[in-house]
């Protein structure tokens, strides 16, 4: 095995599972698309490996390539995005229902990981991508605005509405499972 290949396996390939998980969030659970995305990312990274400074944060670098690759694809296939219609019930805050029984939101911790992952993946794309960038990757509004080429105000409102939808969905699930008393 070449020295380049050895270095790549040791520093980059070890992040494969993490990248694949992130790719699934981006693609909304579309496994074939997620695998393609990871594959493109890793190949781009390998071809550019000589420029990578060994010892710097490889995971962050790979994540940036993956994100840019995804956003470029997104732009290419998106014609005119249809605005996600406001859904009063799905976007209602849940805190008022919980302030007496679970004001600390302990019920979240009882929900299995698969359920929150499904909830994220099933968000409309316009909502899902800002959530992945902000809540999973920890990027700021300005950065997201530049990446998605939408105004900061739009980033804020999409995030706000997406989070409300996630909360409602997790709340319904928790009621269904008997973790909290519904109203």
């Amino acid at each position: 095995m070449s020295e380049k290949r050895e270095g790549f396996e040791a520093e980059a390939l070890i992040h494969l599972d993490g990248l694949y998980g992130l790719a699934l969030r981006f693609t909304g659970g579309d496994d074939a698309a997620a695998q393609d995305l990871v594959q493109d990312t890793m190949l781009k990274a390998y071809r550019a490996w000589d420029n990578f400074q060994s010892g710097t944060n490889c995971r962050a670098w790979l994540t940036t390539i993956l994100r840019n690759t995804f956003i470029n694809d997104l732009r290419r296939r998106q014609k005119r995005p249809v605005p996600v219609e406001f859904d009063e019930v799905a976007e209602r805050p849940i805190y008022p229902q919980l302030r007496e029984t679970d004001p600390e939101g302990r019920f979240f911790e009882r929900i299995v990981d698969e359920e929150v992952i499904r909830a994220i993946e099933e968000l409309p794309e316009d909502f899902r991508v800002p959530v992945v960038l902000a809540d999973l990757e920890g990027l700021g509004y300005q950065e997201i605005s530049e990446i998605l080429e939408i105004p900061v105000g739009t980033v804020k409102s999409r995030l706000f509405r997406a989070r409300r939808r996630l909360q409602q969905r997790l709340y319904s699930y928790a009621v269904e499972m008997g973790y909290i008393r519904g109203e």
């Binding site: 694949y20 890793m42 600390e104 804020k156």
Partner: protein, 106 residues
């Protein structure tokens, strides 16, 4: 229902009148909950919100709740996934790049 038992965003003094401490009202504080928790407010305004929620027994638990939700999302949302098939295919493709590289050197 006493003043302190109203759910957020409902029946709060319009115009952002102050309920407890500071020069910011509950409505203004709650409206900015995500901006505040995301660290996206201008520093002086953020400080006003901080002072308000510290003193306000209505906003304090609400902000805590939303923070718990965001923490939960961050902790559970990124979960690694495993695919042996993907790894195998990738190793083959990397091998092809190695071959290209080797040929390029000749």
């Amino acid at each position: 229902m006493t003043h302190d038992e109203r759910p957020p965003g409902q029946g709060v003094d319009r115009g952002g009148g102050s309920v407890a401490g500071g020069d910011l009202g509950c409505e203004d504080a709650m409206k900015n909950v995500f901006d505040y928790l995301d660290g996206e407010l201008p520093p002086d305004y953020s400080e006003k919100v901080r002072r308000h929620i510290e003193m306000c027994k209505r906003c304090y638990p609400y902000f805590n709740f939303e923070q718990a939700f965001l923490d939960y999302l961050h902790d559970r949302g990124v979960k690694p996934a495993r695919s042996d098939e993907l790894e195998e295919r990738l190793r083959t493709l990397l091998g092809e790049v190695d071959t290209e590289d080797a040929e390029g050197c000749d």
